[in-house]
């Protein structure tokens, strides 16, 4: 556990020295902030005519949506760059288990994204001050649990794919391709099938998140995301092991 933490800490610190990480953070926070302003503006107008109070959950939806496109940039070089620079040899000859290396890399990226997510907490807090008797925090908490789980799944899969490649751009495009498929496409057959379409819906990243974002936490959703995290870490660990045997 200590080894995982050491690797995660270095990776986390590394993001703050990386221009790309700032670009990613900015590309999430800026659209999310603008979206928030729009929500506030629209509900301010509507509330004069007795419309619904402002709702902050669409913000998390946008956050997750942007992560589909941007998180591959955060994970692409995690392990591919170690292989390219030869520093993988250093880590693999230190007393570090292959799993600890992959998990540490994942955790570093995960903590970085959580740091960005922490900034967005300000939006529901602001809305809470404008709404009487306050917003429904249960919905917000469910939404954030969903957000954390989706981000975890995306980053774990990205870390795993990064371990397969030596070229970070190859890792980026494969990761992005997978996310695009899991978010937009995997549930398409469900629309055409008479029966058995539930399986495809279950595989979809977006389906699980939208239900959580509405405030319902189902065990199935949590299992789905935890499975993806496990799959990503397992794939990464296996890829590193295969590297050794080559």
């Amino acid at each position: 556990m200590r080894t995982i933490w050491t690797i995660a800490k270095r990776e986390y610190d590394n993001y703050f020295n990386s221009p790309l990480a700032y670009v990613v953070a900015f590309s999430i926070v800026l659209p999310v902030g603008i979206y928030f302003s729009l929500i506030m503006y629209v509900s301010a107008q509507q509330s004069m005519m007795g419309g619904p109070p402002p709702d902050s959950t669409p913000i998390n939806w946008l956050f997750v949506f942007l992560m589909i496109f941007l998180s591959p940039a955060l994970t692409m070089r995690l392990l591919s760059d170690e292989a390219r620079m030869g520093t993988l040899e250093l880590l693999l000859t230190a007393p570090v288990r292959d799993f600890e290396l992959v998990a540490g890399k994942f955790l570093g990226a995960f903590l970085f994204v959580l740091t960005i997510a922490l900034f967005t907490l300000i939006f529901p807090i602001i809305i809470n001050n404008f709404v009487t008797p306050g917003i429904d925090w249960k919905v917000i908490i469910a939404s954030y649990i969903g957000l954390v789980l989706v981000c975890g799944a995306l980053l774990a899969l990205g870390t795993g794919i990064s371990a397969i490649f030596t070229n970070q751009f190859a890792a980026f495009f494969v990761t992005f391709g997978l996310f695009f498929f899991l978010w937009f496409m995997v549930n398409l057959p469900a629309n055409y099938l008479q029966q058995g379409g539930d399986v495809y819906n279950y595989l979809s990243l977006s389906q699980h998140f939208s239900s959580m974002n509405r405030g319902t936490i189902a065990l199935g959703d949590i299992v789905y995301y935890i499975s993806l995290i496990a799959l990503g870490l397992f794939a990464g660990t296996t890829a590193i092991e295969i590297r050794r045997w080559r």
């Binding site: 200590r2 080894t3 050491t6 690797i7 270095r10 590394n14 020295n17 620079m85 030869g86 520093t87 993988l88 040899e89 250093l90 880590l91 693999l92 000859t93 230190a94 007393p95 570090v96 288990r97 050794r244 045997w245 080559r246």
Partner: protein
């Protein structure tokens, strides 16, 4: 200590090392000599637990490199040939990171200690990317020494260093080698002669010779050689004069005007050669012995050279 038997590694269809067998005791510095592609790095990578062998067994510091890889890695210090470093970290942060991975207590103090050992304490806060090749090499060495390993495996430790640093690093290795096991690879015979107690010569994945450097040279050379230079052209008369001297076995004029001659070990004919050359009216400018270079020893051992005909 290191104990290797039957070690074999295939990369696809190519056999990188073939049935290696050797050992190294505590307090011994063993040199691993061989041309590029001979299998030195492959062997070292197996011994450090980086990759498993295709066949055979290797025990390092009392543990099997495949079965108890983690225990081996705890006890081995390794300087890879490419000296991989995180160029975006400072020397101190990098060593501290590696030290934390190895759970070293009081890691800050230890990092300062090893930086001092390799003479880079004043560069502790400089980014590794800004350091010279020689400095990076020493940072890599510092990393290998960090956890006071029982076994030290160094792949070309003095490459890229300037002559002063080479002397320092060799001194350091010799010091470490008194109590621990050191396995180092090199191209340079004089380096092996200088610091190694024993030398393994490896070629095409096989050990072709294993002995002390002195023994190897003596065994392989059989005859000693020297070159001389006279003022002006070296002509046929000079060659004839030298050839006529008793004990001289072969005389040859080199392209650069030097004359090379061979004589049996232990029967030094150089004083006689000098006398005769001067007597014949030549101005003798230079007369010196030439040792057998590592390349020649290789060629001798591998029997792949025209000289062996």
């Amino acid at each position: 200590m290191i104990k290797v038997s039957g070690l074999t590694k295939d990369y696809g269809a190519r056999r990188a090392i073939n049935n290696l067998k050797f050992d190294a005791q505590q307090g011994e510095i063993v040199g691993f000599l061989g041309p590029n592609g001979a299998g030195k790095t492959t062997t070292m990578r197996i011994l450090t637990g980086y990759m498993p062998p295709t066949d055979g067994e290797a025990i390092v510091a009392g543990y099997d490199v495949v079965e108890e890889s983690l225990e081996v890695r705890k006890r081995v210090g390794y300087l890879p040939e490419t000296v991989p470093l995180y160029t975006d970290m400072t020397a101190f942060d990098y060593l501290k990171f590696m030290g934390e991975l190895r759970h070293i207590p009081n890691v800050d103090d230890r990092v300062e200690e090893v930086l001092d050992m390799v003479g880079l304490i004043d560069r502790a806060d400089g980014y590794i990317g800004n350091l010279s090749k020689g400095m990076r090499q020493r940072i890599g060495l510092a990393q290998a020494l960090l956890h006071r390993p029982e076994v030290l495996i160094l792949d070309e430790p003095t490459i890229g260093l300037d002559p002063g640093q080479v002397v320092e690093v060799r001194e350091l290795i010799r010091e470490i080698g008194k109590e621990r096991t050191v396995l180092l690879s090199t191209h340079l015979l004089n380096e092996a002669q200088n610091i190694c107690d024993r030398v393994l010569i490896i070629n095409k994945g096989k050990i072709v010779a294993e002995d002390t450097t002195e023994n190897l040279q003596a065994r392989l050379i059989g005859a000693e050689r020297a070159v001389l230079r006279v003022r002006g052209e070296s002509d046929d008369d000079l060659v004839k004069t030298i050839r006529a001297i008793k004990g001289v076995q072969a005389v040859e004029t080199k392209d650069d005007g030097m004359v090379e001659f061979e004589f049996a070990s232990g029967k030094d004919v150089r004083p006689e050669v000098a006398k005769q050359v001067i007597k014949s009216g030549y101005d003798l400018l230079e007369l010196r012995p030439i040792g057998m270079s590592l390349e020649e020893i290789f060629l001798e051992l591998t029997g792949s050279d025209s000289k062996n005909k």
